[in-house]
Amino acid sequence: MNTEEWDWETSEKCVAFKDWHQQFEWVEEPYVSPDGEIIAAIVNVGEGEFSICANGNIQESSFEKIWRLRFTPDGRLTALASDAGEWTVTVDGAAWENRFSYVWNPLFSDDGHSIAVSFQQDGQYGMALNDVPWEQTYMNLTDAFLSADGQHTAASVQMIAAGESEIHKFQAGTISAAVNGKAWDRNFVNVWGKAVSHDGARVAAEVRLTLYDYTIAVNGVPWEKTYSSVWEPVFNPLSGKFIAPVRQDGKWMLVEEGQLLWRKPFHQLWHPQFSPDGKNLAAIVATEFGKWSVAINGQAWNIRIGELITDMVFSPDGRKVAVVVKDNERWGIAVQDSVWKNTFDMVWKPVFSPDNTHIAAKVEKDGKYTIVMDDRIWPHTCDAAWDPVFHPEGELLLFRTIEDGVYRRRVIPIRGIWG
């Protein structure tokens, strides 16, 4: 995704989104391309007939059903669509060649070049990557995963048929992980969240060996140590190993292949995340019951949040962390151990400027949306808004909003936001 090539010259572009409502039976919630050039929505064009309208232009093909309209990070417009009882993926109006009994859960690589979906075909399950289905299919599939580089798909698959009441057969292990369609050699009671090494050679997953013994398995081989529970693993780019939060004696701790990574245990510890350079490791933690914080390299911030911490993000240089917080029924943002003064009805994932100096986020207050940057609120109230995007040099901001039924793509100099 090269944002430099986007149009940062034109200060404002508009699409009369409201007019679509006269044109069609109904218009579903719109989506906007990352570069802000396209606004699109699923529209009903007649009884049982749907299409996609983008910037006022209706796609030629229509379907009986369309759902999950989403832009890929590289700006392609995708949806899941069905005709004559068969489902497929459409990309910029063109359907994949493959048709399935059902498709769901589209996943995109970070650069947007890869699109993966889970599919069911005649009662057999698999994944398809860029219109190429797995050769091997399975009797059930859950927890589909696409690597960030878009090269590898993986999912938990059922290897052995077991009746619902055959509890002991189930406990002997019926589930495995299939990576790029090929199942591991070993079955487990359960297989859940997955991670892949950067070279793509190793896939790790949360597994349950018995009803009580949880651990991480890498390419089907479980760690030696087991725990009373685990959360999904993460690849450590510097050590080349997998880390995961694990639960022992009622406390959560962070380990790397069974070795304790952080000395201090927490009441809760999840969503560990490495900084882009891999040097810093952050996680959302509860230091004790009902007291949430962020721990960086094992050290918790001083702030304690009562209700929820989510959407953790590192600055590009890996030195700062921002999170969405919810305390006393209000949503807000905390950056570097400090909670912003402004609170909202809802806050979306914060966005760092490329030079690490600014943080902006989409927020909602009293049913209207706007953008907050560095704890100051943009004085426009919008009917809809999308995440702000910083110019790579950091001088400009791209705002994508709907105001009074008009979609507006605005490029605003950062210094000019408040005036």
Partner: protein, 219 residues
Amino acid sequence: MDALYRFLSGPLAWVSFVVFIAGSLYRLLSMGFLVRRKEKFIFSVMSWKYSFRSIFHWITPFASVNMRRHPVMTITTFAFHICLFLTPIFLLAHGVLWDDAFNIHLWALPNGLADIMTLVVIAGGVFFLCRRMKLAEVRYLTTLSDYLLLIMVAAPFLTGFIAYHQWIDYRFFMTLHVLTGEIMLMAIPFTRLSHMLFAPFTRAYMGSEFGSVRHARDW
């Protein structure tokens, strides 16, 4: 006998008070620490308002549905516990001891009233005994320790009553009275008599859960 009496009413009385107070503190604090270590969420639930709302409903006769369902039990329980608690503290004869030992001057119950209150405790004990033996749902739960506890609680009152009226061997029963009283006192922290210590807390916790989380009554 005199030497024994002097020992019981002297050093052992002090020992029993120390055991009672220190033992109670130990039990309460160790439970508090255990909550802190294992069930810290309990602190976050606790609410003064709902704790007292619950306690109030359960120390007021007939303020809960179950008390209304068992009127005889309710009256007996309240009478028993009130008399059990007040009589030893405010008995005239004990008042002298409070004065001697701690230099505390307490108001004293008229002797006739104290006599009746003692009888109430004894009668309550008999009622509980009969209940334990007669009612299937109580008998089913009853172990030897329940009878021993009942005897332990009734004994100081029975012996005190006999001694006060000097019907038979006053000194023997007086000695026995002091001894059984001290045994009971020392037993409170370490037997199920510790419900005296824990009841306010269990009540407050359940009251808080019902009040602040469940938004419902607990009586």
